[in-house]
């Protein structure tokens, strides 16, 4: 992963609640989070649904836009003041001209596919308790980094249900 981060020649800071990306925009960058935290969400009829989080040492990307170079429905918003490194698609493409780098890149993409599958199972799991336990087991650090109300939204439950589950 550090090989990818090293490609970046631009660091930006975004304040709490500022948007890195909005619905309908084309964003082909990959972002590496140095500090702070962000969330990816979609908005339908004024209801937000959080899809993914990014915090210290994570990669955050609007993967659909990155792959297709087309507009994406995703919003990316800072949860608190966040410092990120920007890696452009052009930088990645240049990096992939080297054979050995392609192996590394495939590993990163494979890992992403696995994460997406885990997330799909989360969403299709009926019991709120089970959803909570799956995520806690997979990403215990999430609960240190992200405020409860956002985690509750991610888990598709009320903040009250989440606090009850955390206590039990």
């Amino acid at each position: 992963m550090k090989e990818i981060i090293a490609l970046s020649d631009k660091t930006i800071t975004i304040n709490r609640n500022e948007f890195l990306k909005v619905k309908g925009s084309i964003d082909t960058n990959i972002y590496y989070v140095e500090s702070g935290s962000l969330r990816i969400f979609v908005l339908d009829d004024y209801e937000e649904q959080t899809i993914r989080f990014g915090y210290k040492e994570n990669i955050i990307v609007s993967l659909d836009s990155f792959l297709t170079e087309k507009p994406s429905d995703l919003f990316i918003q800072a949860i608190k003041k966040t410092v990120i490194k920007v890696i452009t698609k052009q930088q990645i493409q240049k990096f992939l001209e080297t054979e050995s780098n392609r192996t590394l890149w495939t590993k990163i993409l494979e890992n992403l596919v696995i994460q997406q599958m885990e997330r799909e199972i989360d969403i299709l799991t009926n019991s709120p308790k089970e959803r909570y336990e799956r995520v806690l087991k997979r990403s215990p650090q999430l609960f240190q980094e992200i405020p409860n109300k956002h985690i509750a939204n991610y888990l598709r439950m009320s903040p009250e249900t989440l606090s009850r589950l955390k206590k039990s």
């Binding site: 500022e18 619905k23 309908g24 925009s25 507009p71």
Partner: protein
């Protein structure tokens, strides 16, 4: 200009506008209501003025988007009047004062931070309308202006005009903050 390119540019401007408003939310009420003199506007009054414009234009655009039977077009060509309106809104280096229509003047209205939330809500709505506008022609759909319902401008120009007007007053807000620092 290509329609999609215009939409991308307008979405990016709206993103920056929204971020600037998010930062205003961190200011205290004293700063938000400070004014240089009796006839000048405070930060909240500037935003309320923009909200009044939003209350006029956003529903107009939404209705036209819903009822239009036009097809999307690859190219957007600015109209003569629309282009003039949009450009005239942009702030010049030295402030070019403009007259405010009475019904859009918020001077000395009772305002609180709900004004900022409303403003941000309007920007989210604007993004939604920009996305929806991909399904219609930015050339053929015409929007009546607030000056007169007989004067209409192309949807593509209306978006640019509307956003430039916001940028103009956000610049004014920057000047108010500067004046307050120096006061």
């Amino acid at each position: 200009m290509q329609s999609e390119k215009l939409i991308q540019q307008l979405l990016e401007q709206t993103r920056q506008i929204t971020n600037q408003a998010e930062n205003l939310k961190t200011l205290d009420l004293n700063t938000l209501t400070w004014k240089e003199n009796n006839t000048s506007w405070s930060i909240l009054e500037c935003l309320e003025h923009l909200n009044l414009y939003g209350d006029f234009y956003l529903p107009q655009i939404e209705t036209k988007l819903k009822t239009s039977i036009s097809n999307p077009e690859i190219e957007f060509k600015s109209g003569l009047l629309g282009n003039y309106f949009a450009k005239s809104m942009l702030p010049k280096e030295k402030l070019n004062k403009m007259k405010t229509f009475k019904d859009k003047n918020p001077l000395n209205a009772k305002l609180d931070t709900a004004v900022i939330d409303k403003f941000i809500g309007q920007q989210i709505k604007l993004m939604d309308l920009l996305n929806q506008s991909r399904n219609v022609s930015l050339n053929k759909v015409k929007i009546p202006t607030s000056i007169s319902s007989f004067i209409t401008i192309k949807l593509g120009d209306t978006f640019q005009f509307y956003i430039n007007h916001i940028i103009r007053h956000l610049k004014q807000i920057e000047r108010i903050q500067l004046a307050m620092k120096n006061a």
